[in-house]
């Protein structure tokens, strides 16, 4: 008898069927991975189990008795806990306070929670200082707090919704270890992911979802990873190329074809002639101090040639974010200069920078790149509102027409250009941002900061396809990403940033995970 038995689950949102007749059993003590692209129904399935949504049809049984949670509280009571993609921790409260929230009796007893934390630390190696504030913790540590929060009540089933999307490689390893330890203690884990590498390392069984249906459930022992990808994407990986392989974390694929499909592979030099003879971007001795005077960028010198993608590798928090701010004109460097196409952009406003031919795909899509409440068309022409103004009035039909052209060209999928940006999937939002930035005229240089964060495989492919196409027409691109596999698959050159300094550089063909990884952790390249 399986711990959790789902039969015939169906969930519709309006006319959209998110889940279609799902039947599945989760055994005791297994790690069961849910694999699928965004929109495949993974999160919806988790939300049904956790009581966030109610199924339109079908039944669930937990431990042999029916399960109809009317809300998360009831699911928790039955021993089901969930770590959401977006953490639910109060940032300026301590770890212990967050763990007591909603659980404590009238008077707080932090000592009790600290004792329980000690037990969990001993059992699972989940170590966190109870007195430190959440906002001072790294993403990985915050997730550890979420997991501790889940384990306080000794649950039977732990649901993890894309837990590794935000983690560093070593943190991912630690998380997968914890999953294994949980199963050793008889608990079951549902792990939602779209990374095959993780599945291979931790899953007992994997269920592949596509468009709300179960494609297959396979035991991982001796399973063919490639066939899983085929089930997930609905077509062959080989044709999808190295980016896809890299994003699903199939390392051997990525290593086999570095920068596949790039016109300049053969000799390592871009085929596009340098029209101006100037670097698309040149940074000279760039220094940046934050509000507290801490040096975040320490004498950065870098050129990006036209027709070249330069990847910036580094563990997050080593100055990449600040570099992005400076290039966008959102922060001013303490010293040093920025040249785009030979033109000095020191002290320019964001508008002047845009006019100089710099496209920016910001790191924080939601906060900076678009205005969620405005329509897709409005977002597409956010920087050029005046283009569609006649006698001071907006010419909406002209704008709609232009927007639709752009949507077609960049494959931005939405029911119309008038839907609010918030109604688009993450992938389509990012394609829209990319469409806007790549349509700038003139365009000499593009900064793409974490352009694939939170996107599914198909969208990642599309984003990089666009960036490469733009590169092939002579655009210089600086690509900042924490996904090393993606950087290695896409870049012509990778520079490594460590504590605000560029500590190493590798050319396509000589990329190696080990070399880059060791530079990222501060060991100089030999």
């Amino acid at each position: 008898m399986a711990l959790l038995e789902l039969s015939g689950l169906t969930k519709r949102f309006g006319s959209f069927t998110a889940l279609d007749n799902i039947s599945l059993g989760i055994e005791r003590g297994e790690v069961h991975c849910l694999l699928g692209e965004n929109g495949a129904g993974k999160s919806t399935l988790c939300n049904l189990i956790f009581g966030v949504h109610k199924p339109d049809a079908g039944t669930m049984q937990l431990g042999g008795t029916p399960l109809h949670p009317r809300g998360p509280a009831e699911a928790i009571e039955r021993g089901i806990v969930m770590v959401h993609q977006h953490f639910s921790l109060v940032p300026n409260m301590s770890v212990a306070e967050n763990l007591m929230l909603g659980r404590a009796k009238a008077v707080l007893k932090p000592q009790d929670i600290i004792v329980r934390m000690g037990q969990l630390a001993a059992e699972y190696g989940l170590q966190v200082d109870p007195n430190v504030l959440i906002e001072d913790l790294s993403v990985g540590e915050r997730q550890r707090v979420e997991i501790i929060k889940c384990l306080l009540g000794d649950p039977q089933l732990l649901v993890l919704d894309e837990p590794t999307a935000v983690l560093q490689p070593d943190e991912i390893d630690a998380l997968l270890d914890i999953c294994r330890q949980l199963t050793v203690r008889g608990k079951s884990v549902i792990l939602v992911t779209h990374k095959l590498g993780e599945i291979g390392r931790v899953a007992d069984r994997t269920t592949v979802l596509r468009q709300g249906k179960i494609i297959e459930t396979v035991a991982m022992e001796g399973a063919d990873i490639r066939s899983l990808v085929r089930s997930m994407v609905g077509r062959d990986v080989q044709s999808a190329g190295s980016v896809l392989a890299a994003t699903v974390d199939m390392e051997e694929e990525a290593a086999a074809h570095p920068a596949a499909g790039h016109a300049s592979d053969a000799n390592g030099a871009p085929l596009v002639p340098e029209a101006t003879g100037q670097a698309a971007l040149r940074l000279s001795d760039l220094v940046y101090r934050d509000a507290d005077g801490v040096i975040k960028l320490d004498g950065v010198n870098l050129s990006v040639n036209p027709g070249e993608i330069v990847g910036v590798a580094g563990v997050e928090g080593n100055g990449q974010t600040e570099l992005g701010w400076i290039l966008a004109g959102l922060a001013s460097p303490a010293s040093g200069s920025i040249f785009v196409g030979g033109r000095n952009l020191d002290g320019c406003t964001p508008q002047q920078i845009t006019e100089a031919g710099v496209g920016i795909v910001p790191e924080d899509r939601h906060a900076v790149a678009c205005i969620k409440e405005l329509s897709l068309a409005e977002n597409l022409f956010l920087g050029s509102i005046n283009k569609f103004s006649r006698f001071g009035l907006l010419d909406k039909s002209a704008r709609r027409k232009a927007a639709e052209t752009m949507m077609r060209e960049f494959d931005v999928r939405a029911s119309s250009s008038d839907v609010p940006m918030s109604g688009l999937s993450g992938g389509n939002q990012q394609k829209a941002v990319l469409a806007r930035e790549l349509s700038l005229d003139p365009l000499l240089f593009l900064l793409a900061a974490q352009p694939t964060r939170g996107l599914d495989v198909g969208a990642i492919e599309a984003v990089y396809g666009r960036i490469r196409a733009a590169r092939d027409t002579g655009l210089g691109v600086l690509l900042i990403s924490s996904e090393l596999e993606e950087l290695m698959a896409v870049s012509d050159r990778i520079v490594v940033i460590y504590r605000g300094k560029l500590v190493g550089e590798l050319k396509a063909g000589s990329f190696s995970r080990e070399a880059i990884g060791s530079m990222m952790s501060g060991h100089e390249h030999v």
Partner: protein, 307 residues
Amino acid sequence: MIDEQMAVFIGSGLRLAVPIIFAATGEMLSERAGVLNLSLDGMMLMSAFAAALASWVTGSPLIGVLVGVLVATSVAAVQAFLSVTLRANQLVVGIGFNILALGATTFLYREIFGPLSRDPIPGFAQLNLPWLASIPVIGPALSNQTGLAYVSIIMVVVTWLLLKYTSFGLAVRAVGEDPRAADKAGINVARTRYLGVLYAGALAGLGGAFMSVADSNTFTENMTKGAGYLAITAVIFGGWNPWYTLGACLLFGFATALQFLVPALQLDVPVALLLLLPYLLALIAIAGLVGKSRQPAALTLPFERGG
């Protein structure tokens, strides 16, 4: 001579600070839960009037205070319903209440008290605690207060304890910082915010009642003179910390009391300027603090559960 004037100055400074301490302390808790009660001044004014009326009718200032608190808490309940349940704009609701309170109390005062406005209202006596009075200089100032003044300090301690050591206080802070996270942790966001607003209402009620029943033994039109706004400022000035907020309230109280001290010392400063001083201080305090102290992240933001 100077000693005596200092005692009067300190005594009146404390007395003037008390209603602000009450209101600011309650408001601080409500704001920590994410609800801004701009209606604080209106709550105080209604309470001051209701307390005066009840005390006058029954002859008992204690009943007056209770009625005042009840009225202010009822106003707070409506404020909570509008801003928590209906998710109305908290600023607009607050301003509406203040205008209503001023109009209603002025009208009722003229209708009911009009011919009797010279009669004093039964009020509290001063406690005159001998052991306090024996402290030099500030002793007489401290002891010549009504019991309600001491209650205001007790409420600061109570509020501090609530926030720091109880699960209710933890819920309040969580709901004011990140209601979504609190909701997921099983906290009833709406209930917590209601309680926060009602707490602010009750304390504003004490503050308002203090003005009419314990301090001046009379009601006058618009007698709060913006004390509720000063209290809101004190919360910001105090960085949402109960003790710093108390400090800010005392500062405003003493700044107001200068209008008695300066003429007594025969200093040539226009009284009008002194009347302006607390409000000017408030403005400077806010301007100086912009960007430095961190308000509860969800302050004034209604909560709606979403996917």
